[in-house]
Structures are given as C-alpha cells and as structure tokens.
Symmetry: C2
Subunit: 332 residues, 2 copies
C-alpha cells in the first residue's frame, strides 16, 4: 500500500496549499477563490510580473519559487495536471503591476495550450503579456528541434535569474529576452533509479529493473532515452555530463552553474557526492564552476534519481542568480 501522509486523495492540493499558505503567511498568500500563490505586500509599481503555471505533485515546484527575486505568482493545477486557462488568467491578472506580464511556460502540451488561452483572455482585458516557452530536456528531442524538448528541472535557472532581473525594473521585452537567454544557455538530463508513487492511485508511476537506471526520464515518468546498469556516481556523472556538454555545447572558458536536483528520495549525501563528480568533469574541461543549486527543487513524489542541469552564465546572469530570495523553495 502507499504510505503517504494524506487524507482524502481529492483534497490533496487544497490541504497542501492550506498548510503552505499558513506556514509562509509572512510573505505569501493564495488568491481568494482561485489556485494562485501570490507574493504578499511585494507589488511594485511599474515592475514586470514573472509567472508560471504547473501541475501539483512536484513540490516545492513551483509554489516554492514565488518570492522576492523570483516569481510573482504561480498558478497551480491538480496532481500532475496543468492549471486551467482560468487559473492562469487569474495569475496574470492578480500579479499585474502595470508593466506587463512575462508568462514562462514549461514545455508540456497542457501547459502550453492553457497558457495561450489565458493570455488571449488577458489581452482581451488589455493586460500586456508575453510568453517564453522553456525547454531544456535534451533526452526528449534532437538538438535541431529544441522547441520539441520538454521543460524540466533546468527551468529553475529561469525562475531565479529572470525573476531577479525583473525585480530591477527592466521592461517586458528585456525580461523576456533574459528568459530566452537563460533557456538557450540551459540543458538538463535526468537519471531515474526508482519510481515515485501516485498519491491518487497509490501505484508506482513507472517500472524499472532492480539493477538498472533510466537516463532521460521526464518529470512524469515519460519514456527514457535509454537504460544502463546501475553504476557508481562517477560513471553516471560522466555519461550524463558528457551528453550535456556536447549538446549545447558548453566549452572551456565559460562560467557554468550546476543544478543537482533530487527527484524525491535521493539523499543530500548522494547529491553532494554526485555534484563533486560532475564539477570535477567540468573543471577538467576548462569550465569555471560557479554557485550551484543542490537539493530537492522539482520532484516527482518519492522518485529516486537526479536531474542534472548546466546553465552557462555571463556576468549579468550570474549576478541575478546569486542574489538572495525569500522564496520558500530556496530559503527557510
């Protein structure tokens, strides 16, 4: 049986949000009558708003990334389901600060369709929106078809950098340009060791052999590019890092931030060992390794595995990346 701390499976999202909003009531709120996490008392006249929608079940993503120097709002959907156009509209409308809304969209069919519908509705109401579709998962399409690639853990770089950049008061076009630059400089690959369990059905979300790992798994257990035998951290790090380095490519002399994102039940101990193996590979390639992010940011329940992402940064991006935030997914 599934041993999850839940009550009614139908009420998972509602009860989770009630807990979340209570815990972070000093800085966040839920928009009355909707499914939108908003910053509290942090609106600034003339600031571009940066928002995203996503399905629940990947916590802290993305409710955890609303805060100063990150997102202005997050429209959350049901378990593993994109938020509705109405919910996304609410996020656009409620976060508006008079300078337009940058709608980040993680590339999954439901998210893209619903976000576009919400933007049409918002434009009918004279709200100025511009979207940037985020794709980073190199396993999901060849590199000459980047728009076919899924949005996955590397989108975190965008929430932080574009969010911090918007905080400085740049206009909508500049904010969206930054989002595109971060996306174009980011690549992600995920290795799965164990499935997570759907809290609705209590059933594991995919199967995986006892001695194998899947390279290229999507955040909902989407088909992996290939499997290999479980091996040491160093061997897996090498397989993954080489694919990522080659894809963009990332080259000597660049500054790169590493994201080691735990998928759910992979421990901090393992993430740190894996990080150490990856940064050695990058350093050996002549890359300057800057401040990383290591932890459970975008999870799939208690799935075992790591999403590894690289983001090449210029000085401006690095400055925004390193700024502090009070978003609960990044700060207590």
């Amino acid at each position: 049986m599934s041993k999850k701390f839940i009550n009614d499976p139908e009420l998972i999202v509602e009860e989770m949000i009630a807990g979340y909003v209570h815990a972070y009531q000093d800085r966040l709120t839920n928009l009355e009558g909707s499914h939108v996490i908003l910053r509290k008392n942090q609106k600034k006249t003339g600031k571009v708003s940066v928002i995203i929608g996503n399905g629940s079940g990947h916590e802290p993503a993305c409710i955890g990334f609303v805060g100063y120097n990150m997102l202005d709002a997050n429209a959350y959907g049901g378990m593993f389901a994109a938020p509705s156009p109405d919910t996304l509209y609410d996020a656009i409308e409620s976060s508006d600060q008079g300078a337009g809304i940058c709608v980040l969209i993680s590339n999954h069919a439901g998210d893209v369709i619903n976000s576009k519908m919400a933007m049409d509705m918002a434009e009918d109401d004279d709200l100025v929106c511009k979207s940037v579709i985020l794709y980073d998962d190199i396993a999901s399409a060849p590199k000459d078809q980047p728009e076919e690639r899924r949005g996955t853990a590397g989108t975190l770089f965008n929430y932080k950098i574009t969010g911090s950049f918007a905080e400085e008061g740049h206009d909508l076009e500049a904010v969206c340009k930054m989002a595109e630059k971060v996306r174009d400089n980011t690549r992600t690959l995920t290795v799965a060791t164990l499935p997570g369990t759907s809290p609705i059905t209590g059933i594991p979300m995919f199967e995986i052999a006892d001695d194998e790992v899947e390279i290229g798994m999507g955040v909902h257990g989407e088909a992996a590019a290939h499997n290999m035998k479980m091996d040491s951290s160093k061997v897996i790090a090498k397989v993954m890092a080489e694919k990522l380095l080659e894809d963009r490519p990332f080259v000597a002399g660049e500054k790169v931030a590493i994201l080691v994102n735990g998928c759910g039940q992979t421990t901090q101990m393992e993430m740190l060992i894996f990080y150490n193996d990856v940064r050695e590979i990058l350093e050996a390639a002549g890359i300057e390794v800057i401040k990383p992010a290591i932890g459970n940011f975008i999870t799939t329940q208690e799935m075992g595995g790591i999403a590894l992402a690289f983001c090449a940064m210029d000085d401006e991006m690095q400055k925004q990346w390193e700024k502090p935030t009070n978003a609960p997914g990044f700060a207590w």
Copy 2:
C-alpha cells in the same frame, strides 16, 4: 541492490564533504587536516562559539547548520558514527573566538563520551567550554527521566535559536542558559513508514510491515515505542500531537513553533498536509502557532516518515528563531 549515487563506500563522507565545501565555498570551509565544517571569514572577537558533533548520513544535519545566526562549527563523524574526541577538540579549538565555546551534545552515548573527552582536552589547553546535552525524543524514556531521552530532530530549534542568540554577543553562561531553555521547551516524536538503506551495506536499516507505521522510532532506527496501522495524515497527526502536547505539557496561550521534519523520502506535499493537520490541532487547543520549519533537515537516508517537534517560545526565543541565516540547510 542499493541504488545510491556513491563511489567507494569507504569514501562517502570524504567525497560528500568535498562536494559540500566546493558548493558553499562563499561561506564555509573544512578545517585543514580534520573533519570540521567551519564558517569562513565570520569570526567575531568576543563571540561565544556554538558547535555540535554528529554522525554523517543525516544530511543536511549538521554540516548544513553551520552559518551566520546558526552554528560556528560542526564536527562530523563517519556514517552514523559520532566524531572522535580529536575531531571534536578540533571543532572547539578552531571555532574559538575568545569568549568560550558552547558545546551542544545530542544525547547519544558516543556523542556524549567523545564530547566530554574533547572538552577535557580543550580545558587542558585553557579553552573555556561548557556543554549542554540536548534531549527531546519523548518515546525513548519516561518524562520523569528526561536525561535518558535521545536527541533527535527537535535539536534543530537549538541550533537556530542558540546560534542566533550567541551572534548578539552574550556571554557563555547566558548562551548555555538559552540552550537549556530551548531544550526544556522542546519535545519530539517520530513516525516511520519505510526504512532507509545503509549506504555502506546496502541493507535496509529496519523492517516494518506493509500496512503499519512505527511511532517513536529513533534517527538510527532505534526501537519504536509502538506501532499502529497506517492511517490518514489527520489520524497520525492527532496521535502524535496529543502525546507531545501532554508530555511537557504545551498549554493554551503559549506560542509554539512546529517542526515537520521529513526523514528522507516523505514528500514536501505530505509534510505540508501533515503540518496543516497539526496546526489545526494546536490552534484548537488555544495555542498560537508561529513560524514553522517544514522540510528535510535531519534525515536517515531515504527513510519514510516524519519527526514532529514542538518548541514553546517566549518573545526572545521567537526573535532569534525568525532571524535569517546563510546556513545551507536553511538557505540556498
């Protein structure tokens, strides 16, 4: 087979620390030639140092709690093993800022013995140390024998509050008094759903029936007080909260912070639902629920379960609790 991202089991701690120190090189360092995480460039003349030692394998505890407004140093041991007296001595000696060292000790036999030996060595070298033994786990001994109780997740309150308090420049006696007050106001109880796996042996650390949970489990899988059938978050929250409320007791009119500590593979989603259930019970009891901590702070590999802790706070404690920190276990 165990599917952990490790290399040589003998090198787990060394490689993890190498990754950790690289990742947080802006604020932390490892004492050359020893096993001590130290703040970098944050020594203050005349500040009491607050330190603790602990076994590895519980990350982010306690390497993650070294930082401004938290600990000055952490002496780490091998996997699930207390650090040696020499290592603890190194933590005392290297963190000294001329105003004495408050040695927090989480109540486990090895930690107590080795810390006392280290303090004897330090006193021989004219370092002024005072220890406070932390015990909070109500399942491990009756309430009239608090000194027999184990130190567990509730010790987190002490790292934060005593650490922040020391930052203000209070003397050693005052800092230790604060640590005692936080300890006496804290109670913890843990529910386990699934075992974690030893990264050394690849074997689960305990057994638990498919439809049962263990109430009162220690952080190394120490015998639980009793088991019950797996039930809803609300039912488990009620069983646990009532035991905690009664033990101290926590009463109407008090201000209490809740810690919902994930043991490893329990999701943020579940922790938030569970938090919501617990805070409703406390509010119904007339208790004022203040800023909580919800996340994976003190883990036991990928163990499933939650450690629930309450800490009753006066205004001074609350002020210290809520201050920001740059310790990586609390801040990105």
